[in-house]
């Protein structure tokens, strides 16, 4: 059976892709970002997952507001990396695994997540900006992507709770796949940022760190937030963090953090975090001390 071996939360800021393509890995303004991804890339290289379930959003590139899906899953052996108007990037087409994608689609729909299915459509920076920082791409990507697009652009958006439940359904879908594949769930977007209106440039580091804490230990609490709460706390576009809740929903109750990098350079708190199933040492200690209290 397929197994979820961990999850990664990552920003998908388009300038990450631009800086990567321009080779600014050692530029002092960008190095803290790129360095922050290295431990995650090393973990992926060591664990060798067969597939990444990538929960991302399309930025009105492939889908437009005249028909914009709430949840959409991509099926295909390949997906072109989208030209968003600034030219094609020097990346191989994103690789798929049709059998796995179809199984996950069938499982999700039978589990009452009535997805749109897309095929032979380009995938934009929502997935393609962080992907090369996670996986090498020369000569080709080492595994498949199961792209799942979430509407975080045109309200009504799916609620935080709905996204969390989607994650739980993704776990059931992956774990019912008969082949012994290793799967990692990637949630993208955020953290705090606002890029429209006079409130552009809003950030809230205190909230970002609290969000990361709750994501790990009290994700149910985050599912109670409304979209307006996310907008107030983290800026308008930080509402895309509901996609991190979909990632979290696919993980067991107890997870431990292997790595975190938080870099707020200009407008977006660019963050990457890696979790595996398990307990933090403090949780273990608390549990064993409780257990040793005489009855």
């Amino acid at each position: 059976m397929a197994k979820i071996i961990g999850c990664i939360g990552t920003s998908h800021v388009p300038t990450i892709g631009v800086a990567y393509d321009k080779g600014r890995q050692n530029d002092p303004a960008w190095a803290p970002l790129f360095e922050g991804y290295k431990p995650v890339a090393a973990w992926l290289a060591e664990k060798k997952p067969d597939a990444l379930v990538f929960i991302y959003n399309d930025h009105a590139t492939t889908f437009f507001f005249d028909m914009y899906p709430t949840f959409a899953l991509g099926v295909g052996e390949r997906f072109p990396v989208a030209d968003e108007g600034a030219g094609l990037r020097n990346l191989p087409a994103i690789k798929g695994n049709v059998d796995l994608q179809c199984h996950i689609a069938e499982s999700l729909v039978n589990d009452e997540f009535d997805l749109t299915i897309f095929q032979e459509k380009p995938i934009d920076h929502g997935c393609a900006s962080p992907l090369p920082l996670l996986w090498p791409h020369e000569p080709d990507w080492p595994g498949a992507i199961v792209p799942i697009a979430v509407n975080v652009l045109q309200y009504p958006l799916p609620t935080a709770r709905r996204c969390y439940k989607l994650g739980q359904a993704i776990r059931r879908a992956v774990e019912s796949y008969p082949e012994d594949l290793k799967v990692v769930i990637v949630g993208t977007g955020g953290l705090s940022h606002q890029i429209h209106g006079e409130r552009t440039g809003f950030n809230n580091e205190e909230w970002d760190l609290e969000f990361l804490r709750q994501l790990q230990f009290e994700p149910e609490k985050l599912t109670q937030l409304t979209h307006a709460d996310f907008v107030r706390l983290g800026g308008a576009e930080s509402v895309e963090q509901i996609m991190w809740l979909a990632m979290r929903g696919a993980m067991p109750e107890k997870i431990r953090k292997l790595h975190q990098n938080y870099y707020l350079a200009t407008t977006t708190a660019m963050t990457v975090v890696l979790f595996e199933e398990g307990e933090e040492p403090a949780q273990q200690a608390a549990r064993s001390s409780t257990a040793s209290v005489p009855a």
């Binding site: 309200y155 958006l157 890029i195 006079e198 552009t200 307006a228 200009t266």
Partner: protein, 119 residues
């Protein structure tokens, strides 16, 4: 009113893009979205008035575009993720558009950032 958006009206300088707005501004947003395509971009640059007319834009929308009134476009109901595609055609970076929306010069805006060299 979408209950998920309750209270958002209290946040100044924030314009939630919902299906009610989208329905009123679909033509403008489609015009902006099509800037992804090279042919549309080139036709627009060669004859902006003709392409705005073809897109079915009204006079208010045309005037906002002529003036490249970035904040005005957002307040009118342009979605930022298609507006940024138009910004590329207007040879503006996102950071430059952010500064304009805040009513600051580019350098003033960058000085409010933690890593002003990151551009």
């Amino acid at each position: 009113m979408n209950p998920q958006l309750k209270g958002i009206e209290q946040l100044s300088g924030t314009y939630a893009f919902d299906i009610r707005i989208s329905n009123k501004t679909l033509k403008l947003n489609r015009f902006l979205w099509k800037m992804i395509g090279k042919e549309w971009r080139e036709r627009y640059l060669a004859d902006p008035e003709a392409v705005m007319q073809e897109a079915g834009l009204n006079d208010t929308e045309k005037e906002l575009l002529r003036k490249q009134d970035w904040l005005g476009l957002v307040q009118y109901g342009a979605n930022f993720f298609v507006l940024e595609k138009f910004a590329r055609v207007a040879r503006k970076t996102n950071l430059e558009v952010y500064a304009i929306m805040r009513g600051e010069s580019f350098e003033e805006f960058m000085q409010t950032r933690r890593v002003p060299e990151s551009r």
